[in-house]
């Protein structure tokens, strides 16, 4: 592709940023690993001591960990399902020519630009509040007992909130993919006698496979570490109902002041994320090579 000279030059040119990025990753990682092997509690400063894998054993045998792991997987899985299915349908809908298409597209994409904390506050106080929220108002309007969303269905509420945030992203990616479908291919299918449902199932959906893969991979990375939405709305509660791994690590470190335990939890979270990533890439990654 390139000459030997340009390759050497390129190596030197990218070296500073590669080294920078590598240090950026490796230094915190090493420090976290180091902290995770210490007895290091902020309430007991100056008494740090090496304890080996004790922090890990403590974290992994904690029943809270399994609850948090389950919550994380439910949250990620549900949000992925909602955003991908909803995103595909919305993308196809928005691809149809209709009056006000541009405005409609903008409105659909808008939630993505709202900060997580802000949208969490809006959902908590303006929509899901059982007394003054909009949903409660609607329920009262039809004479139904208002639902205490964040109290009684906390995890479901978080799922709805996060899905609302990520649906625009999925829609945006899938919309461009739908738009890139060759018109002649659709016409060929039409000549072959494919109706709207066959057209969707046999032509459009396979065409979207790659875009769906990209959406799933990118969303998974971010959804595994959802924190702000939980912190603002439920604080991990009630009980442990909405505590995911990220929130558990936070509560170890800053609510229980156990830096060693939190570091161990952080490393466990990194390993878990990698396992999920490997499975995902195995499952859907084959769509990525053309």
């Amino acid at each position: 592709m390139a000459t030997k000279q340009t390759k050497t030059l390129a190596t030197f040119m990218v070296a500073p940023s590669v080294i920078m990025l590598f240090l950026w990753m490796i230094v915190p990682l090493c420090m976290t690993i180091y902290f995770s092997t210490l007895r290091y509690n902020l309430l007991d400063p100056g008494n740090e001591a090496f304890v080996g894998l004790e922090n890990y054993i403590y974290f992994l045998t904690d029943p809270d960990f399994f609850t948090a792991l389950g919550n994380t997987l439910i949250l990620v899985g549900s949000v992925l399902f909602i955003t991908v299915v909803g995103g595909v349908l919305l993308a196809i809908l928005l691809d149809q020519p209709f009056f006000g298409q541009g405005i409609a597209r903008l409105m659909v994409i808008a939630p993505f630009f709202v900060m997580p904390t802000v949208s969490a506050l809006i959902w908590k106080n303006l929509l899901m509040n059982p007394v003054s929220g909009f949903f409660a108002y609607l329920a009262k309007l039809v004479g139904v007992e208002p639902i205490d969303w964040l109290g009684d269905h906390a995890l479901l509420s978080i799922i709805i909130l996060v899905a609302w945030q990520w649906l625009p992203f999925a829609t945006l990616i899938l919309l461009t993919a739908v738009g890139s479908l060759d018109g002649e291919r659709k016409e060929a299918a039409e000549m072959d006698g494919a109706g709207p449902i066959s057209l969707f199932y046999y032509i459009i959906l396979p065409h979207l496979a790659r875009a769906i893969t990209v959406v799933i991979l990118i969303e998974t990375i971010f959804l595994l570490s959802i924190f702000a939405e939980i912190f603002v709305t439920t604080g991990g509660g009630p009980g442990l109902d909405t505590t995911n791994i990220a929130f558990l690590v936070y509560s170890q470190a800053l609510l229980q002041f156990d830096i060693g335990g939190a570091s161990a939890g952080g490393i466990v979270a990194v390993i878990l994320a990698n396992i999920v990533a490997i499975f995902l890439v195995r499952m859907v990654g084959k769509n990525l090579d053309a």
Binding site: A188, D192, A194
Partner: protein
Amino acid sequence: MGRIVLEKVSKYFGDVLVIPSIDLEVEDGDFVVFVGPSGCGKSTLLRLIAGLEDTSGGRILIDDVDVVAEPPAKRGLSMVFQSYALYPHMTVRNNIAFGLKMAGMDKASIDKKVNHAAKILDLGSYIDRRPGQLSGGQRQRVAIGRAIVREPKAFLFDEPLSNLDAALRVQMRLEISDLHNELKTTMIYVTHDQVEAMTLADKIVVLNAGNVEQFGSPLDLYNSPRNKFVAGFIGSPKMNFIEGKHAEKYKVPTVGIRPEHLGINTKQSVGAWIAKVGIAEHLGSDTFLYVDAEDIGQLTVRVSGELNVSHGDIVYLTPDETRLHRFDGDGMTITAAK
């Protein structure tokens, strides 16, 4: 059967009238080529017949049934697209079988038909590959295979060869011709390439600005073009049009003479047009001369075989009087005055 009749078919895109009104009869088993310059409405006309566009007026009859209100799949036609429009995620076999599957045919019959089509088109060695792994010519064959298996009343081709390189184009042209001889199905073929039109067609429709300029066999169009447009469009290199002093001799405003009907002499001859050679293209089998003739202007001359002239030489041209085309002021051919 595949008799296609157009009656007063017209098409608007918004407020733009693309096809004013076309009447056309395609007989069963004919190979008809629509030819014309870009934007003449030839592809639109094909898409109207296919049902991919709605007509704005008129009737389209396939075997005496008006199909204007029918969706494309119900018309019994197959189409081969310019981009081939294969389904990239399906194997060649599934691409070809897709239409049959949509028609709800059972698997055994589908397999039989696909294998038959694969045999006709020689697809055997790559039947289980995907379109992305095939060359342009192979993709084109698959696209034709997809059209064949449905056993349509007529095939529609929309510039199917324009994405291929020159050598492959000649080969595919022959294959399509063979296919027509074998299947004897009506074919309608759209192209802007008049060589393709001349070589493939039983009948050519020359279109210009949405109007049929002439409908006839290739040699009809070559020998007796109805007007100046057809005369200029059919034949390569283009016909020379001569106005002024030399046309007045024949008592018409314009005369046309094809490059191959100009006699050429390097020695002085009586009554000949004197011309200076601009560019000489020596192709071996032919020599094309672009000459600047006195009182006429730029002329193209085609000489069979080799002719040893080069830039700046003076040559003497004599038109073959029997192959001279006479045009009136409106560009229509005058036939009576011989």
